[in-house]
Symmetry: none
Subunit: 219 residues, 4 copies
DNA sequence: AATGAATGAGCGTTCATTCAT
DNA sequence: CATGAATGAACGCTCATTCAT
């Protein structure tokens, strides 16, 4: 058991170092040699824990992703109203990416475009998470909070696409400094649309319920 | 003149082949050797036209992108109303990507994440094109068609992010088969929002106006 | 320890093969591939021991040179008289080059003209050795054995230049077969000059003190 | 005829440019492309005048060498005394190298070590010139000016070796700045030897006939 | 005579991966 | 469990040289 623990710890350590290196240089530019050096381990030893370089890459998001989506699921149970749930989801994404820049880099710049990753367990977690978004949208439609004629796949694509675009831009250019500040305007925009209206009745569900009242202690 | 033409033709031919290969295998997986073979040319000759493998890659979008954005600019002059213009823009993107799958692959899966590409002339064209979207949004805000409190960067991000997400998904999974059918729902969604409303007055600008029939007489 | 030894042995083996190949074909004409083949090792393995082809080249003289110059220093301590010391030095050079033709080739035909080699540790050893010649000349001047008005740099240049010329010629043409036979006439010539004299008093220091059991019949 | 002239001029121009490039970068680092560019000619055209890159290299010294050795022959006829003739020869070499640094570089760093060059017409000229030195030495021996027991090959090697060493050092390090100031001390040294003598009878031929005002202080 | 275009032939170097110890 | 040592397998890129025009 202690042995298993140790192995798990070692594995996590390698993943941590690999995440840094992959995020910094991309998959191809990164080398096992560099990862080994920075993890103070031999190259050969890395192959004791991971079958290939790509296998190591694919192992990176598993934990973080699970963490995020578990948290998401937890939050969604506490919140009422599809709009507020969406806001919570978007916030959680933005917050997580903002505070895990390496994770964000790896997801947005490397894994998102790797077809082999799609069949990975790491991606399974992500797919599960995305289903939650679908569920919330459908919930909103069913409850009458959202328009009946919505295409949930499209709405989900708008939400995720926007998030990914903002995060990718943030990674590539460094701007904007604070991703979270886009959460509210973004949700507002998606909920209400960009069209101006004579008189805008504020639906109850639009009352912002700030997420900030959570303690987010990440080391 | 004929000489120049010939060189240009050769160059274009190489670009065409390279686009296919890069789109099919990604940048790293693709080899100059394969491109040369398929272009029925020697590897060395490729280096007569392009300085490096990456230089060749960066040369691919230049023309197509310019074509698209020129067309976009042309259309935008003919269309009245910011919403309709946005619809036109989105349609043009979707249509172009749909009909240039390789171009789409290269942009979405390879170039979008290459920092060196950002400083390329190919990217300059794209940046110019994106400015047009900004302009349309600002125009809509100024004319009162859109809400005054919009953050144009955000709106642009929603539009581009959504497009990129849909296109990327389309490339990665093969579905949905028809990108263009997303144009109207997407624009509707973004303009009106996803919120259901008691009575939804249709703003004049929401009247769908097919792109092909220009000249919109708003009586 | 045994491990270190093995690596060192391997390294030396590669150096040995490389010396042969470089000496035979010159630097550019030689290929890593050939060296690897002859050393019965993979090309990649060579790069485990040496960073570049040039690095491998530069590693060749290090040991041999050190050996020679150490021996020189040892001998110089045993010999009295600057002239005899010079004779010893020249003999040692000629003897070494004669018996290490590859080493001679590499030094004379390849390294001597490589500016990057000047900043190498291998060259450092050589510079140290040359300093010894300077010291002997200065010693001879100080002791009155040599003329007071000598320019030591010039004298050294005469000695080294002559050696290099003879050795280079020997490498390039194969003649003369025996380099060592030039040692005595050369030193005599440099010590006494080529001028004929009415009566030539033999200074005590000119008594040849042979390094080897050479028969020097000075009648 | 005018055509021939033009071709000759063109050839000389190419040689001039090639000399600069080869001297500056060495044979391997130099490229036909660079030479062509600097000569404002196409690469292909160079091959109208020279069969190969090496052929071009070998063509460089022909003229300059002939010039020098013709001049040498001319001078030697005017001078009396083997020692003075040697002085003149050495001066001519040093002077020529000093004033044709590129020529010096090419001879000393590139051609001297090329076995194929030995069979070239360019080398023939040089061999012819060197024979003159032999002749002078033999003349000196026959006339009694030099010792009877001299090995002319050795003496010649001392002279040429020293020159080559000084020139090579000058090229490689940039010092000493004035090669000519070595002529007198060098000849003195070789003629008289480095040995100090109780009373030095100055042979008439030793009267220095300074070509330049010496004063040789090199650090 | 001049050259634009094309290429054959190589080569050094990198790295993920394996395996005996 | 850890790793030192070895390597197979590529690949991008360079350049001297050729030849049709």
């Amino acid at each position: 058991m202690a042995v298993k623990k140790k192995m798990e710890a070692r594995k996590r350590q390698i993943i941590g170092v690999a995440a840094k290196v992959f995020a910094g240089k991309g998959f191809q530019e990164a080398t096992i040699s560099e990862i080994a050096q920075k993890a103070k381990i031999s190259e050969a030893s890395i192959y004791e824990y991971f079958t290939t370089k790509e296998g190591l890459l694919f192992s990176i998001p598993a934990e973080s992703a699970k963490e995020i989506f578990d948290l998401m699921e937890f939050h969604l149970k506490l919140i009422r109203g599809a709009a507020n749930k969406l806001r919570s989801i978007v916030f959680l994404f933005m917050h997580s990416y903002q505070n895990h820049a390496e994770f964000a880099s790896i997801i947005m710049l490397i894994l998102k475009h790797n077809k082999r990753f799609l069949e990975t367990e790491g991606h399974l977690v992500i797919r599960q998470g995305i289903k939650n978004i679908n569920k919330v949208i459908e919930e909103g439609v069913d409850s009458g909070e959202f328009r009946k004629d919505l295409n949930p796949y499209l709405v989900r694509s708008i939400i995720i696409g926007t998030i990914e675009h903002l995060v990718t831009n943030w990674i590539m250019t460094g701007r904007p400094e604070n991703l979270e500040e886009f959460v509210d305007p973004m949700i507002d925009c998606i909920i209400e649309g960009i069209q101006s209206r004579p008189s805008e009745p504020v639906h109850w569900s639009m009352r912002k319920m700030p997420l900030e009242v959570k303690n987010n202690d990440e080391s």
